[in-house]
């Protein structure tokens, strides 16, 4: 009889990254089980399929024979139960599989907050391939759509529906878009951009009720101010939560997510959890216990693959970074920039008078240490910022290095001089830009 395989539940970025790196260092059998799709796809690309930029197959980074060639077995099925004592899992077709180690990487589910009508036809979140398919089904009969929840998925869904000619009303609980993450000026920039694209942005507005027509389909929503907005589709995008309901009757310890230590181990031997579904019991300083982003999922996969191939490693993500795109405005962030300045953290903010270009640099007002940067409409180099964060450089140093940091395509207009001028004025300094230097830029590139 063959030795039981490593079983990975979930074929998203976490599970598949784990599998790839595991295979680099081990020949043990490995099986990936997914309920959602037979092959790994990039979740972040789903929006582009709906918008007609990509085909579904373009979202799959690996060719079909990649899996066979690397002896990564795939199975489409739903895990219904886990028995840690016998090291067995049960699938929905009642088959039982033994595992050597079990890696849970089941990702997230869209939040629902018990709104009246949240389970009507035409009401859904946007997260999975199934969500994409049902959105496509509703699309033909949708002229007006309402999106509830002003985060990254919400703005993407707004762009998607808008691209297909739907009238989009966007309900945002906060008084400015994503202002629990973005500082005021930047959040305002996005508000304006959404309006310019013709999105009916409703700030400080909550959903009270989703109203049903005779067939059980949504026909309108009511806001907390009592306004009725006609719609044939409602997108619920008020965040996501770990997808762990199937673990209810097991001994695996959970809180909001599956509780793991820094080695990504659950409370059960040989069972691990990575990615969106996991919750760090002791997160690193400055980090949240659940970070449902692509990059952390990938890093957890990389880390656990080391541990399970005999090289035990703790999960140690480096400096925070992230990126997004709000219609036409690209956003990147390196390090930590708080939405509101408090305590020692202060911000330097610059915005172009007309264009959708802005940056915010966070620094320690006592030591002038650089803490993080948000950029809008300017691309910046990850390596350089990562390095400056490790080396605890000052904000003055960062400003000097702006030309080296720029990652915009060649010939793009650069704004370093304008930024510098404003900075020198505000800080009463006479900093000069350092000339672009390949030596500085590529100092940290791995050989």
């Amino acid at each position: 009889m063959d030795a039981p395989p490593i079983i990975v539940v979930g074929n998203g970025i976490s599970g598949v990254t784990f599998a790839r790196h595991f295979r680099k260092n081990s020949t043990k059998p490995l099986l990936i089980i997914s309920k959602e799709t037979p092959y790994f796809f990039s979740r972040t690309a789903l929006m582009y399929v709906y918008m007609g930029h990509l085909r579904w197959e373009d979202t799959q980074p690996y060719e079909r024979n990649f899996w066979k060639k690397n002896k990564l077995d795939l199975l489409q099925g739903t895990v219904t139960h886990i028995n840690p004592k016998e090291k067995k899992i049960t699938l929905s077709d009642e088959s039982i599989l033994s595992y050597d180690s079990l890696v849970i990487a089941t990702g997230s589910l869209p939040n629902k907050f018990g709104w009246p009508g949240e389970n009507l036809t035409g009401v859904q979140g946007f997260y999975s391939k199934q969500d994409l398919d049902s959105l496509e089904d509703f699309s033909a009969t949708t002229n007006e759509a309402v999106i509830v929840g002003g985060g990254l998925i919400g703005v993407e869904l707004a762009e998607m529906l808008h691209s297909r000619g739907k009238k989009v009303t966007f309900l945002v609980r906060e008084n400015s878009f994503w202002n629990n993450v973005l500082p005021k000026g930047e959040s305002e920039l996005i508000n304006q951009h959404l309006l310019k694209h013709g999105i009916d942005l409703r700030l400080s507005t909550n959903l009270s009720e989703i109203i049903e027509d005779k067939t059980g389909r949504v026909k309108a929503i009511r806001t907390d101010s009592g306004e009725i907005i006609s719609c044939q589709f409602v997108g619920l995008t008020a965040g996501v939560k770990p997808n762990i309901d199937f673990l209810k009757n097991t001994d695996i310890a959970t809180n909001r997510g599956i509780l793991v230590n820094k080695y990504l181990e659950t409370n059960q031997t040989s069972i691990y959890a990575i990615g969106d579904c996991s919750e760090q019991q002791e997160p690193q300083v400055g980090r949240r216990p659940i970070e449902a982003v692509w990059y952390t999922g990938r890093m957890m996969g990389e880390t656990l693959a080391q541990t399970l191939t005999g090289n035990k490693k703790a999960y140690r993500p480096g400096h925070w970074f992230n990126s997004a795109k709000f219609f036409d405005i690209e956003y990147q962030t390196y390090g930590l920039v708080a939405a509101q300045t408090e305590n020692f953290e202060k911000h330097f903010h610059w915005k172009h008078p007309i264009e959708n270009v802005a940056i915010t640099i966070a620094y320690d007002q006592n030591t002038k240490q650089f803490l993080g940067i948000n950029t809008f409409g300017i691309r910046m180099r990850h390596e350089l910022f990562d390095q400056m964060l490790y080396e605890k450089k000052s904000i003055f140093y960062v400003i000097e290095q702006l030309a080296n940091c720029n990652f915009d395509p060649e010939f793009f207009e650069s704004f370093e001089e304008e930024i510098l001028q404003k900075f020198n004025k505000e800080f009463n300094t006479e900093i000069k830009l350092k000339k672009k230097s390949w030596k500085v830029i590529f100092k940290n590139i791995m050989p």
């Binding site: 970025i13 990039s42 972040t44 690309a45 582009y48 918008m51 007609g52 930029h53 990509l54 085909r55 373009d58 979202t59 799959q60 980074p61 060719e63 691209s163 310019k196 694209h197 692509w294 990059y295 990938r298 890093m299 990389e302 880390t303 080391q306 490693k313 703790a314 999960y315 140690r316 993500p317 480096g318 400096h319 970074f321 990126s323 997004a324 795109k325 219609f327 036409d328 690209e330 990147q332 691309r379 910046m380 180099r381 990850h382 390596e383 990562d386 990652f407 915009d408 395509p409 060649e410 010939f411 793009f412 207009e413 390949w438 830029i441 590529f442 590139i445 791995m446 050989p447």
Partner: protein, 520 residues
Amino acid sequence: MNMKLLQKIGLGVFLIGLGLFCTLILLGNYKLNSKEFKSILDAKGIHSELFINSINTNLVDKEFTEPFSFSSTIITAVEESNKIHKKNREWKKIIWEKPHSLSFEIAKIAAKGAVKENKSLFWLLTFGLGILGSLLYILPNVIVLGPPGIKNNGIYFNSSTNRGFLGWFVFLFLVAFYVLLYFFPDYIVNWTFIVDPISQSISGNLASQWFLYGFLYCVVMIVMAIRMYIKYRNNKYQILRTTSVLFFQVVFAFLIPEILVRFDKPWYDFKNAFPLDYDFFFSWNLNSLISSGGFGLFILVWGIVLTLVIVPIMVYFFGKRWYCSWVCGCGGLAETLGDPFRHLSNKSIGAWKLERWMVHSVLLFSIVMTGLTLYSYFSGTQNVIGIKTQTIQNIYGFLIGSVFAGVIGTGFYPIFGNRVWCRFGCPLAAYLGLIQRFKSRYRITTNGGQCISCGNCSTYCEMGIDVRAYAQKGQNIVRSSCVGCGVCSAVCPRGVLKLENGPLENRIFSPEFPLGNTIK
């Protein structure tokens, strides 16, 4: 004003212009009188009495109402007389000129009717309406497409850009056009009449099918460049690049060579480097250059220096993009007319393998052919180790020069994407690619760990490079085929890719993990 309505009107006007253009082939009639025939015989130095009799009997003073039977009468006369002369070993009487080229020249004289008599009017009704319609369709996109940004909405829903029936229709149309242009120019003699006035004003000559093609090429590129300016108005790299290819096409590939002809100099495109310019070393070209005095010698030296010195040095500093997507005419058409089809290139590992075999085979073929050609030229022999140099040149000219570069290269835009020729067939691209891969400062830098594997870069890579496969591992993209169009960088939603020229050291590297993870 309703912009979408304006676009529909534009499309209608364009289709009317295109329809008229196609109909031109069937207009008018063809009648050659004996005086005209005599002048052709004198100009061509034709001595075959069999051919002369056949034409006198079957063609002279007879009226043909369409070009096809007119052409076939001439072709039959040429083929049958040649057959007999070959049998009788009467080499001097054989007509060596391609039958359809000879037929073209006869038809150019023999054609009568509305088109030939109203050249400018028909120009306006075809080119004029076509240009007007296209602009009416393209210009409203400034408003229709919304604020500046990436404009790829609905590309895979549109049957002209997703290999739907419109795509196949365009494919058939383009293939038919190239087959007529390369192999049956005598059928399209009416098309050449409408550009006669323009040709005469530049070179002083009546338009050949190649002048027609050159002019059409420029018009199509200008119109589609305007589309590029609107589509990529958020991206200065794209705008400059488009302007550059447009400039080199219109000035270097079209105007300068025609003006040279006006001054009795050889027709020469100064930017067309060997081995893309595959017949540069053919004996007829060398003889023509050498016989045109100092200027001809200058061209000869320039052509050699361009290929052996300028091209490699420029590729070292900037990558092959300086040529392929900033200067080259084939690239120019691909980046303008071809832009709507760029996503149709095949990204599979299998296609990449096929590409390397094919493009390097063509490079080898062109070098071997040129070697034989030069050997023949200097030794004066027709045969090298039992192979006739002329035969090799003919095979190359037909398979690579006409079928691959023309019919497949452009005709297949709507099916295999806009760079089929550049990727699988261009010997110059293969040569530039080798330098780019092994000795160049150019690379596409991947921005640390920011890639989200969405696949926009790979999808919109016209060369079929799976850009994502590198970016998601945090590796730079260094590939011989990359023409540096910059669209991967443009469509990336997370700012992950940047085309740049930097130090050779660590240009290619492979991190164990993309940036962000600190496990060691």
